[in-house]
Amino acid sequence: MSQHAPKEISEITFGLMDPEEYREMSATKVITADTYDDDGFPIDMGLMDPRLGVIDPGLECKTCGQHSGSCNGHFGHIELAAPVIHVGFSKLIRRLLRGTCRECSRLLLQDDEKQEFHERLKRARDLDEGLNDVTKAAVRQARKKDRCPHCGEPQFDVQHEKPTTYYEVQQVLSSEYPDRIASAMEPDEEDGQRISPTELAEETGIDAGRVQEILSGDFRPRQDDREAIESALDVDLTEEDMNKLMPSDIRDWFEAIPDQDLDVLGINPDRSRPEWMILTVLPVPPVTARPSITLDNGQRSEDDLTHKLVDIIRINQRFMENREAGAPQLIIEDLWELLQYHVTTFMDNEISGTPPARHRSGRPLKTLSQRLKGKEGRFRGSLSGKRVNFSARTVISPDPTLSLNEVGVPDRIASEMTQTMNVNERNLEDARRYVSNGPEEHPGANYVRRSDGRRLKVTEKNCEELAEKVESGWEVSRHLTDGDIVIFNRQPSLHRMSIMAHEVVVMPYKTFRLNTTVCPPYNADFDGDEMNMHALQNEEARAEARVLMRVQEQMLSPKEGRNIIGAIQDHITGTYLLTNKNPRFNETQALDLLRTTRIDELPESDGTEDGKAYWTGRTIFSELLPDDLNLEFTSNAGDNVVIEDGQLLEGTVDADAVGAFGGEIVDSIAKLYSKTRGRIFINEVSSLAVRTIMHFGFSISIDDESIPPEAQAQVDEAIEEANERVEELIDIYQQGELEPLPGRSVDETVEMKIMQALGQARDSAGEIAEEHFGDENPAVIMADSGARGSMLNLTQMTGCVGQQSVRGERINRGYEDRTLSHFAEGDLSADARGFVEHSYREGLDPKEFFFHAMGGREGLVDTAVRTSKSGYLQRRLINALTELEAQYDGTVRDTSDTIVQFEFGEDGTSPTKVSSDVTEPAVDVDQIADKVLDSEFDDTTEKQRFLGETREPTNLSEHADDWWLAQTDD
């Protein structure tokens, strides 16, 4: 692609276009609505005139001589038979009409007022504020004037009928004035005095004969006489007269507005004269902007814009013919309105109050404004975001054998998407091998580019031959292979971790495979979710992705400052089973648990049992920890976890230790050691956990939620008691003896008390159920470890589901004064208002089921509404924040260098680099200093790491783990 040297844009100014400018830039005047002649050639001075540019390949542009592709097209123009209003400026036109004099066109402001607004404008410009408030205020003030302060002409109100009609509203003498005066002279009920014409003449000072003439309707009183009669008789003799302002009138009016008055309205008269808002010339977009397409049957189909232009030219011609023929004013006005309609819809076809112009099929035409607006418009659809090459999308599925940094890519995707290899002496052999494999066999190649720039497709036929020709200087587009870095994404991309870089592992079958520990950052599950992958196309992008975007680098969430990647679900159950009761394992079992980690030698055994050495779960888990890790915290299960010198001495490893949302050990390792160490830890914990859960076996069934009959009897009793208590409350309430709670009505009070009683009933049902579950119950294990579910879920399954609610109240909707026709009117009892006394295991009765569905529906609707609202909010926030940037001086500024924060986040720290514990200081200087001092006495490599003198090798492939671990030796 030949390109000009990029140039820096120093300034962009916006203004109106002079009609003269349209004529100057026009390649041709367009006078005929026809496009092609019978032979299929474009008609001269028609809408497809070859001077407007070319779309057919091979043809030459008559204006610039270039071929299609290089010629961008050229504008033409239509001379409008009469001026029309530009819809885009209808508001500004209204403002100018209201703010300027109908006679002399000057702004209706005194010089001192003008001066004031001038200064306010200047201040707004200095402060980078919108000028709209000031100019609006100026027009508002000008509009208040009844008379022009310059020429004294009385001013009338201007009404705007959308989209493009303007009226002057004048108070004129009503045609019924004789009747109105006569009826006002009749005696009214209060004073009962009839006013005679002579009396009227005396009071108003009008000649008596004139009064008679006025009363008979022979003479129309002038304004001062009218006002005199009005005040004498207390009557209104006027009516509103709507005088339509034709576009030509408005154009004349605007032409006379002096330049210095425009300044006050925030308009730069050098660039934009207001009369240019009334179009006399219409630019015709080049054919390249409205290409016609040839259908299968050989018929041409024209672009919507062309259709619209045809309409405009037709009406324009009819207008001219009629005017020349001296047609009546009424017909001329109708045609003028029609021309206005077509020009308006040419620019915007979605104006409220105007029927959209339609295609023959009834589909509304897509005109200029519709091309730009909205999600699929030019800005959001083609400029801010567009479809890209080198991307793939498919269903995702889990693969726990992958590292969290990897992604499994189906072979058919890997051989479609390519990476460019620059061939040199060192990779020549590889390059030849790829090419000789051809485009179908996996690590192959699809294209080559020779040193002379020719691009050749590698085919099954030519691959062997081509492979021999490959030499230094060629480029080979080879298939994706293991270890390549790609970008992986799941929509909606709500945070930074929705787009991360992964290393490719090419695999059979059709889905992308990912390690389950990266589900939380993507918010992915495997119920049919699809994800997108992008292959990177230059070294810079690949390096950036590897250093900045790789999954392990995103381990700590900038939102919460703690890890978002870690053990989930069965991983947590696994580590819980391993550490909670601290079970013992023999040598074979222990080695088997650690099989997929890098540990291949067991530590010293914890003791012997029956003459055989054994290792405890905590000892085995400790093998994964860095040797010098010290930590103490409380686990989700509630016990105290103590880690000293990399040994788990006591406590349960569960969600609070290794979990994906702020697992203490993961968070500490990632912050204190490195992201790479964190990644290794998570990978090993998850595989240890999977092997552990397989060792013990873990399942859940209906029987795990059942309780003995005597317990069930207790539960039933508790619910029965609650029901009785509710009946009691209702009784007291109905006798009017219920004491209202402070600040509540009696109705509210009884509801609250019933809710409270039923809430207690559910809780006690839950407690009874809980007593009968041991620590070995799978649901209890999951709730206790934080793997999934809560004790509430368990009690709902075994004890009682509890109160269903809509809008935070017991269910009270449905029929008049009752929820279902099965109940009496006004029944406030528990079962009539949505209390579900059965458990999920027992099953709900039909009424309960219905109430449960009501509550469930509300939840679904809420989430649907929330997601759409938060999506829009997110978009607005992103648009507002994208241009903010942290500067090298520590400040946060927008693109115009206005300061937003004087120090990033007011403290200049990154949330991912400071402690995520709110009770601790964010940066513990003492602790850091201690560490530095400690390291003084250690060996030098240790010291260097504390002083940060060795750089973390972030761009290492995972294949180099062994080397990396040897370097740090922990």
Binding site: D128, D889, S896, T898, F902, D907, A922
Partner: protein
């Protein structure tokens, strides 16, 4: 009327003198309009603050004890 400036949650607002102002503008290499704004009608402002003045706001911060922000008084 309650004077909100005495409330413990309202941070200190003080007017900068010319010398201090010059220093601030120098430090950040900006002109006055590049500062964040505060309205004259904001009740947290001291009585003497006028349009065009620059206010120094000293807030408590969990991480750095105090965080300083400057704002230009407008309209």
């Amino acid at each position: 009327m309650v004077d909100v400036t005495n409330h413990e949650l309202v941070p200190d607002h003080t007017v900068l003198d010319d010398e201090e102002l010059e220093e601030v503008l120098q430090e950040y290499n900006i002109d006055k309009p590049d500062l964040p704004k505060i309205q004259r009608t904001d009740s947290a402002l001291p009585k003497e603050a006028e349009v065009g003045d620059v206010i120094k706001i000293t807030r408590d911060s969990r991480t750095t004890e105090t965080a300083v922000v400057y704002r230009l008084v407008v309209k």
